[in-house]
Symmetry: C2
Subunit: 614 residues, 2 copies
């Protein structure tokens, strides 16, 4: 039994016809012509609390991204390529048309389907200022109008809607945080002065958690306390959190640096800032347009831009780095025990994807320190491995069969660090094509791991290094090479990323994933993922300040899938050195059987293999 993951087949859209009909009654009652239902909560979070699951309640669609638009006579659900198939299966397509994002954005659908003179309603707490601008443009082109509603129209008809989450808010230990909240606030105030703003609204719960050294549990997989803070450039901040959630310990710690107020009083606080003609920074990423409106309607100036905390939080301090190193060693031992078990069990051809998930969670749980999975484990055998965001359910579950590949992408939350690791292993004998593809992915992984680059370089500039070996064979993968990772916070953290969209310069102390892949639809998927830490790099004779990556993850990479003749001497050296380091870090943590397996799994590549080509 898994504690942190279910294998239920997601709810279907059986109720959606009735619910959408009710929503339409509400529209008529209010003289409105349509309503937008984004998959979003008030903080634009990746994981939303149950009471914000309006999109699945209304449509049956459970994916992590999508927007429904309900008009009087038609309704659409716009989803990206990951979810086109799933949405088609989950929603009642007689009532809701599934629109692939590649064909049409939600705004384009609105532009084409909203009648001139109509009024489209939206909930200003679920849209950012930038998001609303796009909506405004689409509605204007249709010759229609937008109207903000006071209460979300889905909430009006959702009688059994769950209450807001009330998970306890606890202090994050000083020895793990590595910097006091006072010191963080002093640095934040410097940033506010530099940006010439009078106050910052912290709307991103990750930033709230980091600033005040607290953690909560209001959503799955990430220890977030849902709430807000207002940090003035001068003076004491106010944290807006349900007092019932705040433990005594957290209350005492928080009270030392901030006032605590009920979340319901946030609008009044924003109006007070507005009346004082304050210039207030609203986070462009997470800040609802409702925040902007409250400040502006009271006469203030809402400055929509980056929350400076995001970048500060991305750069880990020594304590956070020490924590993540310890967490990775602990987790690497669990993953290695899992891989040894898998090597024994998989050849039977009977082991299932779900059993693999359960076993890995159990081994992590045996550390006694597992707080949560950082996300639902992606456990994909054969063709399921080719589905990039696959989540195994009782319906899709299948056995690992000889001759197939098995892809396992899993994460863990320990109090000292957040983990994300992917290994792809051969069950039985892999084909020459599988080995070729795996080795090209590995060459990309190594190119990132070994990259050296000057200060100021962004992830966008080096993303292609992970793709070159695939490109040479006419292949590629359709996701970024890596994302930022938090410190006992989100496994997907910005602004750092390795992707063509990653314009943030990398800085020493940032943690990112290094996870190139290759996916052959209907056959197999390959991904090799380690977390890496950006570090300064000393080079003799260097004229620039240089940086590189330290690999944090320790778990063997399946040698049976490595075609050594495709590797250069430097690449072979890297793999052998990595495996030696895996042994060095993990041996003392392992039982004897696993240790013996690890020695074999990490032995150096044959030194006599012919010279490869870069």
């Amino acid at each position: 039994m898994a504690r942190f993951q279910t294998f239920d087949d997601p709810a279907d859209g059986a109720h959606s016809a009735a619910r959408i009909a009710k929503l339409r009654d509400e529209l008529v009652r209010r003289g409105l012509d349509g309503f937008v239902v984004p998959r979003a909560d008030e903080h634009q979070s990746e994981y939303v609390p149950a009471n914000a699951e309006r999109l699945p309640w209304l449509t049956g669609f459970t994916g992590s991204a999508g927007t429904a638009i309900v008009l009087a006579d038609k309704a659409a659900l716009v989803v990206d390529g990951r979810y086109t198939l799933q949405a088609g299966e989950q929603v009642d397509t007689a009532v809701v048309e599934v629109v692939p994002l590649a064909d049409k954005t939600a705004e384009a659908w609105i532009g084409e389907n909203l009648a001139a003179g109509a009024t489209l309603a939206y909930d200003p707490w679920l849209h950012t200022a930038d998001g609303l601008k796009k909506l405004e443009k689409a509605v204007a082109q249709a010759g229609a109008a937008l109207a903000a509603v006071e209460m979300n129209l889905v909430d009006v008809i959702w009688l059994e809607r769950p209450p807001p989450p009330k998970a306890p808010v606890r202090p994050h230990p000083a020895e793990l945080a590595g910097e006091t909240s006072e010191a963080k606030l002093a640095r934040i105030r410097e940033q506010l002065a530099k940006a010439k703003v009078d106050a910052l609204v912290v709307s991103d719960p990750h930033n709230l958690a980091w600033t005040f050294n607290i953690r909560g549990g209001d959503v799955a997989h990430t220890p977030l306390p849902l709430g807000y803070a207002v940090i003035p450039a001068d003076g004491r901040p106010t944290v807006f959190l349900d007092p019932a959630k705040v433990t005594n310990e957290a209350g005492a710690a928080l009270g030392a640096v901030a006032d605590i107020a009920r979340q319901e009083t946030l609008p009044a606080a924003l109006e007070a800032l507005g009346s004082a003609k304050a210039r207030v920074r609203i986070d462009a990423e997470s800040g609802a347009v409702a925040l902007v409106r409250r400040i502006e309607s009271a006469g203030g100036m809402a400055d929509v831009g980056p929350d400076p905390i995001s970048l500060m939080k991305a750069v880990k301090n020594a304590a956070e780095i020490a924590g993540t190193r310890a967490a990775h060693r602990r987790d690497g031992a669990a993953v290695t025990r899992f891989l040894a078990w898998l090597a024994r069990e998989a050849p039977s051809g009977k082991l299932t994807e779900i059993e693999a998930v359960e076993k890995l969670e159990a081994l992590r749980d045996e550390t006694g320190l597992l707080r949560e999975l950082a996300f639902s484990t992606i456990s994909g055998s054969g063709p399921n491995g080719a589905i990039v965001h696959y989540r195994v359910t009782n319906r899709t579950n299948r056995a690992l069969k000889p001759g197939e590949l098995f892809l396992l992408d899993s994460g863990a939350q320990y109090e000292d660090g957040t983990i994300d690791v992917t290994r792809t292993v051969a069950v039985g004998e892999p084909t020459a094509e599988m080995r070729d593809r795996f080795t090209r992915v590995l060459k990309g992984h190594i190119a990132i791991a070994r990259a050296v680059f000057p200060k100021g370089t962004s992830g966008a500039q080096i993303d292609a290094l992970a793709r070159q070996a695939l490109w040479q064979a006419g292949l590629d993968f359709d996701h970024g090479t890596g994302h930022g990772v938090g410190s006992y916070l989100s496994v997907h953290e910005g602004p750092q990323r390795l992707s063509k969209l990653g314009t943030q310069p990398l800085e020493p102390g940032m943690i990112l994933s290094n996870e190139p892949g290759y996916y052959k639809t209907g056959q197999y998927g390959i991904r090799i993922e380690n977390l890496v830490l950006v570090e300064r790099r000393e080079i003799a004779g260097a004229e620039r300040e240089m940086m590189g990556f330290e690999t944090l993850t320790f778990a063997p990479i399946d040698r049976a899938l490595v075609e050594a003749t495709l590797l250069t001497a430097d690449e072979r050296e890297w793999l052998d050195a990595y495996h030696a380091r895996v042994r060095e870090m993990l041996t003392s943590e392992l039982d004897e059987a696993t240790r013996a397996w690890l020695v074999e799994a990490t032995r150096a590549l044959a030194p006599t293999s012919p010279e490869g080509r870069g």
Copy 2:
């Protein structure tokens, strides 16, 4: 004697105190408090006509980029890193403060120095809409106001200001253009329909020349006819050109597809569009805010965005590609004759940078087809080679000395193609460091030349390939890896580029430069530049549409500077194959002595050199 390049030391700022005083009199007379003088003409051109040289006339500064701001009691000239030194030498710093752009933008200087309540004047023909927005923000922050002037205030006091250029406008031959103006206009109209605009104002003279298959000579180095066109989504375009410039042949060709009108009638035409409530695309890059104003004040909608012609022009057709291949073969022979001559003459230690420029121009001129240099040749020996935008003058001219490197970056305009090529050669014996640096630059050059990438890839994604070998040694270069190149048009053409700012996806038919470098201040500079053509690439088993580069430039790369042990087997193969191709393409074009030299200069690297490392 060079026909197309002078070696004069640029004018100094001796007159600037008097001229700025006169400008201040004008400000007082008009009740204004300041005036902005950008280095720009009405088309935001790289090369501006003599009558638009307001910045050098006023300040003495002759660089290609910079902005002066003259207030009642102070004046500043903001210049980028290339020009800080030069500006300090050229301007009268008692009158004009030189401000490095890295310290302060022109807008920041204005924000700090313009008094609240003051009025800053500007010429709306010399600023784009985006540029003006920045200016507006700065002035608003200072609590001051902006005012557009009807006539440029420098022109008011510049009594001996030259008349506008009147170079003849001639047809560009159909066999070189490869597409009729009718066909181009049909494609442009499709783009206008797609963008939902009623008309396009062509403000970029390069786009004017391309669309109507004409060429002119109003500025140095680029065969531009300065003028405008208005292309309606439906109906006949109007070309706004001084009729005195239009030759009979060009007039006949133009008249077949467009009306010709005097440039003075452009504002009235814009007002007519405005009165008709038209939505008019204004090019964000080249379009003056004055164009926007005329349309909007008459009631139209100015849609500031990309001129679709820029991207169409960037993708060369078969005739243009055949033309550039012929031009490159012809020019490669001239460059190779030059390099053979240099190899004979340079060891004397007496040959000067200017003599090298003159010789190369003479050899190009001997082809009988040279129309212009594409830019002033950069001829830098020893420390002068480390100045990226060096232009040799009688004052800076120095002899090529044994033990030094010599960097020569030159361009040519032939009617069938525009050339840009850089070679770096060792005079006498190079040091081990020079060879190491040169080889790292060469590795970067080869990485671009050999790159294979999927459709949709931008220059930003592959720029780092050119830097990796330098990064590994803690080195880098501070310019992009490559820029787009036109077809008997600008040697710097957008939107394609190889740089971290190059977000335009590359497309087959685009021409770019591939020019990584390395610069050691006070000692030497290295750059290796070939032009490359983006082409489709067939790969067995490819799952994506792939692209790569065909190298267009043919001239030997100095083998004396190649440290073969630093090259991988693939890199050595590339260099040998490139040199074999240079011989194959040029042998029939060369005299016997040059041919013998070329055989030696392009012989394969020793096959026994030890295996290098990628």
